[in-house]
């Protein structure tokens, strides 16, 4: 727990299948300061006529917002692996709390960037303060139809 004292209140909370709720504190909040790429997802069918001036668009009801970001300076690799395992192998929703009192954001972990479908790799943090700190680049998708505006453009 070398960086335990650096942790704030940003956290993931999830409930494993056949388990009790778990809180996983983050070394740093998911933040637009570094490595934070939000995107909007909506199924869209786009068609242009041959004269390239007429366009037909059909979108499918629903949609979601995603963010590609990195979980940083995490000195609880066993807990982090358990979180990713529950999210990727069991499809468990992880609730993200940016800070104390902030609204919850329910996420699905879509993938670990750079990892194969059947891998859950943890990488040693590039800016680690000491040993035992890891990072994981992930793609997270908000699944309740809400936006991520509050994260990457704080009020």
């Amino acid at each position: 727990m070398a960086t335990e004292n650096l942790k704030g209140t940003a956290r993931f909370e999830y409930t494993p299948v056949d388990g009790s709720p778990i809180t996983h504190l983050l070394g740093t909040p998911l933040s637009p300061i570094r490595e934070f790429v939000p995107s909007r997802l909506k199924q869209r069918f786009d068609w242009w006529a041959v004269n390239k001036t007429n366009r037909e668009i059909v979108t499918i009801e629903g949609g979601a917002e995603e963010v590609v970001c990195t979980i940083r300076v995490d000195n609880d690799p066993v807990g982090l692996k358990a979180l990713l395992q529950a999210a990727l192998e069991d499809g468990v929703t992880v609730d993200y709390y940016p800070s104390t009192g902030a609204d919850v954001i329910p996420f699905q972990v879509v993938e670990i960037l750079g990892g194969a479908d059947d891998e859950i790799p943890l990488t040693q943090d590039r800016g680690r303060f000491g040993g035992g700190e890891y990072e994981v680049p992930v793609r997270l998708r908000r699944i309740d139809g809400g936006t991520l505006d509050a994260i990457y453009r704080p009020a």
Partner: protein
């Protein structure tokens, strides 16, 4: 330019439902379950063959928390009804999805002109299979059209109950054959027990002025009839009289004696009509069962002046069983009581065909004797007077009746619309075993011959589309395909689809020619003898009609010298197409003209080859059209060469034959229709 947000859903009907409605839907998959937006492939159209086929398509859905597995299965009790004394087994889960009706729908999320609030059905079919080949938890559900139903060879043409075996003829007016006149019942004698001996007489007067309407050929007892009766014998013969209560069948599987009302065209209409089981055409033992047919009693009368034959009659005595068993055979009423031999339960065959499109003349005899409309009859044309016309069935009416029996789903409004088009020639099909074996395949030949094709609409229902050239097209009433609403247009012509010579091969059916009677052995002016008269050549069918193989045409297009002869023969043997224009055999000229105009249309369509187009069409217009729709193709806008203008200019009309619908556009297949006016053949008065 339009944008639209949609929601999609897939509805599964409950088991056994033939239509999907709000009442028959058992469960629905929505966007939370669907893996992608299903695309319904358009039908593959074969205009020359009059046929179409639909490719199966897939719905991919996620088995979230096993919910889909639950929906696709059911709890059933194991029970085999072909085993007796086996108790019901335990209730177990079974797959329960194959064969169910499934439809695909979309709905706009905002109500505006581009987003109708109602659900739009864009594909319908039946579940024909499913798998998890893409991985556990992802079902792939295959949906197919109902063409398997059309291939079931269901017994559409079940009974050849439209002909009289003796006297031979059709039972109602049909084509150029008038309703057969029955034999006259000249004697009814009680037999032992429940048996009655009925004596029938049929014959004619040789003198034209005295002919009562029965031709000489109608009295003969043909070898074909004898063969049919011998083949119709039951395996176990029974000549004994029955008891007082137990019904005993006759000795013939299909052949019956039809007695009573409605069989005479004179005043003799009795109140009783029934179809009687026949025991014998002679004596009451196996040796004598056909003795009256082998050696019929013949009466001839001769002229007092020149000894020529004035009339002759055949008498046949038939033993029948009373029906009901306790009821005596009815007494004859007046002179007009008639009877005939028929085989109402015999399946259609070459020897005994089923005639489609006979006039009902208000009644028909069901197997039980009740008066009903015959399932293949037509209402008489009042303009033809008491005779009720010669029948003939419209191609749309024919399809409606066949598809009803085959339980194929179709668009009734479409058939009503086609039926209102009197430019189609009336049909007089004669069904033998070949047509009865595969009715839908036979209907393809019917459609081919009259210029129709069958397609399926978005609800999976069959419909008929007129593929003949369209005259007097109002371009302004049609939508236009141009560069602003289409993409990737390609076109082509195939030499093998070029037809510049058309021949129609068909059966010519007519009454047998009269034959001249010569003096038989006899004494004075009346003689009774035992003998027979050979039928005239050509009488092959038990319905007493002569069939001759004929052909209509060849009719040549004007490209035959340039491109070589490319003949095409319509196989119209079962259609009984009307006789050619130059015939003087008395067919309605209007009907013959309809056929010739049809052939002219075929030449117009195909003598330059069939030009096919493929392109993408934006959804705004694609949502407005369906298979069969006519649209204008703007050659100038799309830079397509136009032989009519000999430049990339002008407009021509195409007919949509296939639509594959994607959310924002549709892939279209279409064929070109001639844009110049097709000359219509007219009747000209002869100039004297």
């Amino acid at each position: 330019m339009s944008a639209q947000e949609r929601r999609y859903r897939i509805r599964f009907a409950e088991r056994g439902a033939e239509e999907i409605t709000e009442d028959t839907v058992e469960f629905t998959l929505d966007l939370t379950t669907l893996y992608g937006i299903p695309v319904v492939r358009g039908s593959v159209a074969h205009p020359i063959q009059g046929a179409n086929e639909m490719s199966p398509f897939l719905v991919e859905a996620i088995d979230e928390d096993g919910a889909l597995t639950v929906l696709m299965t059911t709890e059933k009790t194991v029970y085999f009804d072909f085993l007796t004394d086996v108790p019901e087994g335990p209730a177990v889960g079974r797959w329960d999805i194959v064969g169910r009706m499934i439809d695909l729908q979309w709905q706009g999320t905002d109500e505006d002109e581009f987003s109708p609030s109602e659900w739009i059905t864009y594909g319908t079919g039946r579940c024909s299979g499913f798998d998890e080949k893409d991985g556990q938890g992802k079902y792939r559900i295959e949906i197919s059209d109902e063409s398997w139903k059309a291939r079931k060879h269901k017994e559409v043409f079940e009974f050849a109950d439209t002909a009289s075996l003796w006297p031979p003829g059709v039972l109602r007016n049909w084509r150029r054959s008038r309703q057969v006149r029955p034999a006259t019942v000249i004697d009814i004698s009680p037999g032992p027990g429940d048996l009655t001996r009925v004596t029938l007489r049929a014959g004619c007067y040789a003198h034209p002025q005295q002919n009562l309407g029965v031709s000489s050929s109608r009295a003969i007892i043909s070898d074909g009839l004898k063969r049919f009766l011998k083949e119709d014998l039951r395996e176990e013969l029974n000549f004994a009289s029955a008891g007082t209560t137990d019904e005993v069948p006759g000795n013939f599987v299909h052949t019956r004696l039809l007695f009573g009302a409605g069989l005479s065209d004179s005043s003799g209409t009795s109140e009783f009509t029934a179809s009687y089981e026949i025991v014998s055409f002679g004596g009451l033992d196996e040796e004598e069962i056909f003795s009256e047919l082998e050696n019929p009693l013949m009466t001839t009368t001769y002229s007092q002046t020149d000894s020529s034959v004035e009339a002759f009659f055949f008498d046949i005595r038939v033993y029948v069983r009373n029906f009901p068993i306790s009821a005596p055979f009815p007494e004859p009423i007046g002179d007009g009581v008639g009877a005939l031999l028929w085989a109402p339960t015999s399946p259609p065959s070459k020897a005994l065909p089923l005639h489609i499109g006979m006039t009902n003349v208000g009644y028909y005899f069901s197997l039980g004797g009740a008066a009903i409309d015959h399932p293949w009859g037509v209402q008489p044309d009042p303009s033809e007077g008491l005779a009720g016309g010669l029948g003939g069935i419209h191609v749309a009416d024919l399809h409606r009746r066949v598809w009803d029996i085959m339980e194929l789903r179709y668009d009734p409004a479409n058939l009503t619309q086609i039926e209102a088009d009197s430019s189609f020639p009336l049909l007089y099909p004669r069904i033998t075993d070949e047509e009865a074996e595969n009715p839908e395949e036979w209907l393809e030949t019917v459609r081919q011959a009259v210029g129709l094709i069958s397609l399926r609409d978005s609800r999976g229902r069959l419909k008929l589309v007129d593929m003949r050239p369209v005259r007097e097209i109002d371009f302004d009433s049609l939508d236009t395909v141009d560069a602003s609403n289409s993409e990737q247009l390609t076109w082509g012509m195939l030499g093998r689809e070029l037809i510049n010579r058309i021949i129609v091969e068909y059966d010519h059916i007519e009454e047998p020619t009269e034959f001249t009677l010569t003096k038989f052995a006899g004494v004075g002016n009346q003689g009774r003898s035992v003998g027979s008269v050979d039928p005239p050549p050509g009488v092959e069918f038990l319905d007493g009609l002569v069939t001759l193989q004929k052909q209509l045409g060849p009719y040549d297009g004007d490209t035959i010298e340039d491109s070589g002869e490319r003949p095409f023969s319509f196989q119209g043997q079962t259609l009984l197409l009307e006789a050619p224009l130059e015939s003087d055999e008395g067919e309605p000229a209007e009907t013959r003209l309809r056929l010739l105009n049809l052939l002219a249309g075929w030449l117009e369509l195909y003598q330059d080859g069939l030009q096919r187009f493929e392109f993408e069409l934006g959804k705004t217009l694609a949502d407005e059209i369906e298979e069969g729709t006519l649209v204008v193709l703007d050659h100038a806008s799309l830079q397509i060469p136009n032989p009519r203008t000999q430049a990339r200019s002008g407009e021509r009309v195409i007919r949509i034959v296939s639509i594959t619908r994607f959310p924002a556009y549709a892939e279209i297949e279409a064929i070109l229709l001639p844009t110049r006016d097709v000359p219509e053949i007219q009747v000209c008065e002869a100039v004297s």
